[in-house]
Amino acid sequence: MSDSYISMRNLSFYRGERAIFKDLSLDLPRGKITAIMGPSGTGKTTLLRLIGGQLAPDAGEVRVAGRNLQSLSRTEMLTLRRERMGMLFQAGALFTDLSVFDNVAFPLRTHTKLPESMIRDLVLMKLEAVGLRGARDLMPAQLSGGMARRVALARSVAMDPELIMYDEPFAGLDPVSMGMIVKLIRGLNQALGLTSLLVSHDVQESCSIADYVCVLSGGKVIGFGTPQELKDSDNAEVRQFLRGEPDGPIPFHFPASDYAQDLLAGAN
């Protein structure tokens, strides 16, 4: 993969004593949908935050669009995000004091000097794309989970980013809403030529739209390739994850001391 939009080199990140990533190197291709999958607690969302520059790695470097995030000042970082990145948060993260329309208009009003009539047109176009033009006057509290996520999606593409990151876009949705989100992610990627990054553990949905799948476990990349390649992988851990088996190379138990000893220790 010569044309990578994001590249990470020898990345290490710790939470307290615990290493979330150790010496991780990963390249994510431009203009494709890459799904990052892995068991809960392997740091998938942390990875998105490292790419978005909201967290700084303890070692190694992250490059987005050729820029080394660690060398950027606070203002440069904000500019980079404004010009190139969009992110869809798990719960939508809509501003609860603004209506649907004002939420989508927020980045446009903040970052551009466009006249209000043009902002109105742009917002209505984005809302039409997610099918919620009719809901423009509602407040976020009046939306269902699926609708909130679609509004948030309209807001995150309002500034026409090059990269969009989805944090668990399928979690907690009913099948119909899930189908809508799948269609939207696919559609946006094709229509706008976005580089899309998807964090999820819904194997089926993710594999159905992703060009590449990256499986993380224990702070390492244990599999990277097209969905088909990974399904045929000879790595037992990757197969376990994609097939959803409860025990295997990915242990059922959180690391602990010996069980018998632990029980006996209470007797003393």
């Binding site: 909201q54 995000r81 404004r82 969009g86 993260a93 501003f95 927020f106 980045p107 948030a152």
Partner: protein, 262 residues
């Protein structure tokens, strides 16, 4: 071994406290100034002054009136022992302008507006609204914290002035209308004793300091909170507890510095 562990724990607490102070200082320095990407507008400031200041008006005015009435009553019973009830106006006004006005207003403000600020900001953090702003290239310190910080700094001195005003009238209501102190004595002695700079301005200087400190603690506790329901509750409590202690402690320091004696 045990001693070492205690020492280590103590040291860790110290380090953590220092780190927290560093973060709080960074937050204050960074959000006192306006400007930068996606910075807040004057309209945001006006909106915040409304929710922080205007909505606190009722509690401040009612509390001020009662504090003034109690002072009038207590002052009257004590002063009448010495046959000097004509000094009641002076007693009420100086007590309120120098001490009770700034301190009680700041305490009420911490409970009414400070806790609301903390809860609002920490809930914005828990629902990832602050992260979403960052990812849209908007600095949440400039957009969310700056207008709230300034709204507090502007509102508290005004609320204090109102509290003092209403308090003095509350005292007058009890003194003149209920217990029968001479109107001329109440107001005339007050006018002769109260000095604009010595009493009014120094009291307002206190309230400016309290405004900065209370709002700073409130926004910092919200911004630095653990984004869970337990964390939000804890942050809100911390705001009220720390601000109240800070107000009372600082009041002693400011009194010592401005009214002398030490």
């Amino acid at each position: 071994m045990w001693l070492f562990k205690q020492l280590q724990a103590f040291g860790q607490q110290g380090v953590r406290a220092m780190e927290a102070m560093g973060r709080a200082a960074f937050l204050l320095l960074h959000s006192l100034t306006w400007g930068g990407p996606g910075s807040a507008t004057w309209r945001d400031l006006v909106k915040q002054i409304y929710s922080v200041g205007v909505l606190s008006l009722l509690i401040i005015v009612v509390a001020g009136f009662f504090v003034g009435m109690v002072l009038g009553l207590q002052g009257f019973t004590i002063l009448s022992n010495f046959g000097s009830v004509s000094a009641l106006g002076t007693l009420v006004s100086l007590t309120i302008l120098r001490e009770l006005g700034p301190v009680v207003t700041a305490l009420l403000f911490a409970g009414r507006a400070g806790s609301a600020l903390t809860a609002e900001i920490s809930l914005m953090k828990a629902t990832e609204q602050l992260s979403a702003m960052e990812m849209m290239g908007v600095d949440p310190l400039k957009r969310v914290i700056t207008p709230r910080l300034w709204a507090g700094i502007i509102s508290l001195p005004i609320l204090t002035a109102l509290f003092s005003l209403v308090g003095i009238f509350g005292g007058a209501f009890v003194a003149v209308d209920l217990v029968g102190v001479d109107t001329g004595a109440y107001w005339g002695n007050m006018q002769a004793a109260v000095q604009f700079y010595e009493d009014v301005v120094k009291g307002l200087i206190k309230s400016v300091v309290f405004g900065v400190v209370v709002t700073w603690i409130a926004v910092y506790q919200g911004y630095d909170s653990v984004p869970t329901s337990e964390g939000i509750g804890k942050a809100t409590t911390q705001t009220v507890v720390i601000s109240s202690l800070a107000i009372l402690g600082l009041d002693f320091v400011l009194t010592a510095l401005m009214f002398g004696g030490i």
